[in-house]
């Protein structure tokens, strides 16, 4: 296995999926680039999206299958839904998740509800690929996560991979899946590399991954927060606190068993999610534990989240905004201290 970055792993998942099935078609703004200047040698694949994730695919598959669109997200997400019902498997890029507000109706009321509402006769096998996360000095309108907006909506599946291997395997599953899937890529993870299988191996949706085994406290970490949870765990290990880290990877459906069995063992839970705190994945997972894992709890279910504020631009403020390994470690110690107290 060669090392691949998350970005390249996603590119490979797309490429292999497109090779395997000619109905896999990409839509998005400048996912190739150079549209209208095809005679100019630099035009083809000039972009590959703002992060170059889809670069090279247009050269290989052509403009019919890597379709640059106008800035009309409601229009092309709507089109993807219609196309999906009649045999396409569209993978649509929403350039940043922050733009979800301009095409939320398509996802919430059409993609998600059609199968149910029209009596189960049709499927909408589409994927929304989009980019989330703070830490890029990109300001309030290019830094949100919005995981919970999608997770709230029945009919959607929601995936947010942390590692390159997971990104590849889960995207392959998402594309093969017959339901609409929202696939959230974290911009600060794109350049992280790890060994990734060469073959197109699917990782099933709905299965979490235990990233670290431990005895004392369970950290449930959402996407990029796995990185910081790991750092916190190292610090805490030095203090004799043995942390277990769970990466749910898929948020709808959620691997409740994995979370509950871990908390059942440790008796303590800290949920880490860089999102805004209210009605978030963090509260969702905390509420799960408070209900189904209560009997084994030795401490309050604690959370580390971003504040109830938009994401600020300036580095000192943005760094403060994002949950840090230190804040995570502090909350873990709190959980430990509580149980000692009581």
């Amino acid at each position: 296995m060669r090392d691949l970055t998350v970005k390249d792993a996603i590119n490979e998942a797309l490429r292999q999926s497109m090779e395997a099935d000619e109905n896999v078609v990409l839509f998005g703004e400048d996912i190739a680039g150079g549209q209208g200047r095809d005679e100019h040698p630099g035009a083809m694949d000039a972009w590959g999206g703002p992060f170059g994730v889809t670069k090279g695919l247009c050269t290989q598959f052509g403009r019919d299958r890597v379709r640059d669109t106008t800035i009309a997200e409601a229009g092309f997400f709507g089109a993807a839904i219609g196309a999906a019902m009649v045999g396409m498997r569209p993978v649509c890029e929403l350039m940043y998740v922050d733009f979800a507000g301009v095409c939320f109706d398509q996802m919430m009321n059409q993609a998600a509800k059609m199968r149910y509402m029209f009596g189960g006769k049709q499927n909408v096998p589409m994927v929304m690929r989009t980019v989330v996360g703070a830490g890029f000095r990109a300001g309030a309108e290019h830094s949100q996560t919005l995981y919970s907006l999608f997770t709230h909506i029945p009919g959607l599946k929601v995936v947010a991979p942390y590692s390159a291997a997971d990104a590849k395997g889960l995207l392959i599953s998402a594309i093969r899946d017959d339901d609409p899937v929202v696939f959230l890529e974290h911009k600060r993870l794109y350049m992280r590399a790890e060994p990734v299988p060469e073959a197109a191996e699917a990782i099933p949706l709905g299965k979490g991954r235990r990233r670290r085994a431990g005895r004392d406290v369970t950290i449930v970490a959402v996407q990029r927060m796995n990185l910081f949870a790991e750092a916190a765990a190292e610090t805490l290990a030095a203090e004799g606190i043995d942390v277990e880290i769970i990466d749910p990877r898929t948020y709808s459906p959620l691997d409740e068993e994995m979370i509950l069995s871990s908390v059942g063992k440790t008796g303590r839970a800290v949920i880490v999610d860089e999102s805004h705190p209210r009605c978030s994945l963090a509260t969702d997972i905390a509420a799960l534990i408070a209900e189904k894992g209560f009997a084994g709890l030795k401490a309050p279910v604690l959370k580390v989240t971003g504040p109830h504020a938009p994401v600020p631009f300036s580095p000192p403020m943005e760094d403060y905004y994002i949950p840090s390994p230190e804040r995570i470690a502090r909350r873990v110690r709190e959980a430990m201290d509580f149980s000692k107290r009581s």
């Binding site: 078609v25 019919d64 669109t69 106008t70 009309a72 997200e73 409601a74 229009g75 092309f76 997400f77 709507g78 089109a79 993807a80 839904i81 219609g82 196309a83 999906a84 019902m85 009649v86 045999g87 396409m88 569209p90 109706d105 398509q106 009321n109 059409q110 059609m114 199968r115 149910y116 509402m117 029209f118 009596g119 189960g120 006769k121 049709q122 499927n123 029945p154 009919g155 599946k157 899946d177 017959d178 339901d179 709905g206 459906p253 959620l254 409740e256």
Partner: protein, 327 residues
């Protein structure tokens, strides 16, 4: 003029829609069916004429005003009635209701409660059919009010850019809810708006089903041969309220009677004899349509209710069952 068998089908269909909707109005007055009811009265000729120009395997999208489109797309009448009654035998198993009558197996991509949601979805189907090399086309039905919504414009612009066989059918029935079309449009016609996309567009009488048929056929033929998107605005009139229960206080009586003078059923009846459908033939078609509607509603009213727990079915193709229910 359409072939003779099509003409018969058109009359049958026209009568079915009219009688079906009249029955809906009765049931609404008796409060015999649940939920919102939007009838298609006044626009029957549009669904009939357009669908006569289509094949069964062409795709359409409809709206919350969906009965007429469904009937004209040959969705089973009893399944429609049962859906409106909320029964398990309804075309959507009782999960959709009057606003969402849609049958994928008959070429309906959906009937949307969100104004202007349909055109983009039909656009996608048109794109995929063209990609596959098929000559199936997609038609999106929507109202005059929908043309102000952004996603309508996004879909129209992309359709032209992609040059796909999408027929945009604007049913201009004079009102968007309680707002008059001549007030809400900035242009004379909806067709005028398509200049923004350099898209061929016409405004056509929507009361005469044969006029509708001719206009639609022309466009459909161009598309089957590789042509791009077009819009046709059909001018009709909303005889009913926006929904059953709407008192229509805002519709001036003189306007209503003027429109009623060109009632699509009236016009069709007047034309019938020229088409070799004598009084007896038309009466037979009417009687058959009455019987079909009676039968559909009689069976619907007696059909079984869904089980309460059916509320949890078919949310996904695959999802852990216990994650749907919750406590």
């Amino acid at each position: 003029m359409p072939p003779e068998s099509t003409v018969r089908w058109m009359y049958q269909c026209l009568f079915r829609i009219r009688f079906f909707e009249e029955r809906i109005q009765e049931l609404a007055r008796e409060k015999a069916v649940p939920g919102y009811l939007h009838t298609y009265l006044g626009s029957e000729a549009i669904a009939v004429g357009v669908m006569a120009a289509l094949r069964q395997d062409d795709w359409i999208t409809s709206t919350y005003r969906s009965h007429g489109h469904a009937i004209a797309k040959n969705v089973d009448l009893c399944e429609i009635a049962a859906e409106i009654h909320g029964r398990r035998t309804g075309v959507c198993k009782g999960r959709g209701g009057s606003m969402h009558i849609s049958d994928f197996d008959k070429g309906m991509l959906g009937a949307f409660g969100i104004v202007a949601a349909g055109p983009a979805i039909a656009l996608g189907a048109a794109l995929q059919e063209r990609r596959k090399g098929s000559d199936r086309i997609a038609v999106s039905f929507f109202g005059d009010g929908a043309v102000h919504n952004g996603v309508f414009h996004e879909a129209a612009g992309l359709a032209k850019l992609w040059n796909v066989p999408l027929l945009l059918v604007c049913e201009n029935n004079g009102y968007a809810e309680a707002t008059a079309t001549d007030w809400h449009l900035n242009t004379e016609t909806v067709a005028d708006m398509m200049a923004a996309y350099a898209m061929p567009a016409r405004t056509v009488d929507g009361m005469d089903m044969f006029t509708v048929y001719e206009a639609a056929s022309d466009a459909v033929q161009r598309m089957r041969q590789g042509g791009g998107p077009e819009l046709i605005e059909f001018k009709s009139y909303r005889f009913s309220g926006q929904y059953e229960g709407d008192e229509q206080a805002y519709q001036p009586p003189a306007e209503v009677s003027k429109a009623r003078a060109r009632d699509p059923v009236l016009l069709a009846r007047n034309t019938a004899s020229q088409l070799g459908l004598g009084g007896a033939a038309i009466e037979a078609l009417e009687a058959a349509a009455h019987r079909d509607v009676d039968d559909a509603f009689a069976r619907a009213a007696e059909a079984a209710w869904p089980a309460p727990e059916d509320a949890l079915e078919e949310v996904y193709v695959a999802y852990p069952k216990d994650r749907i229910a919750y406590a």
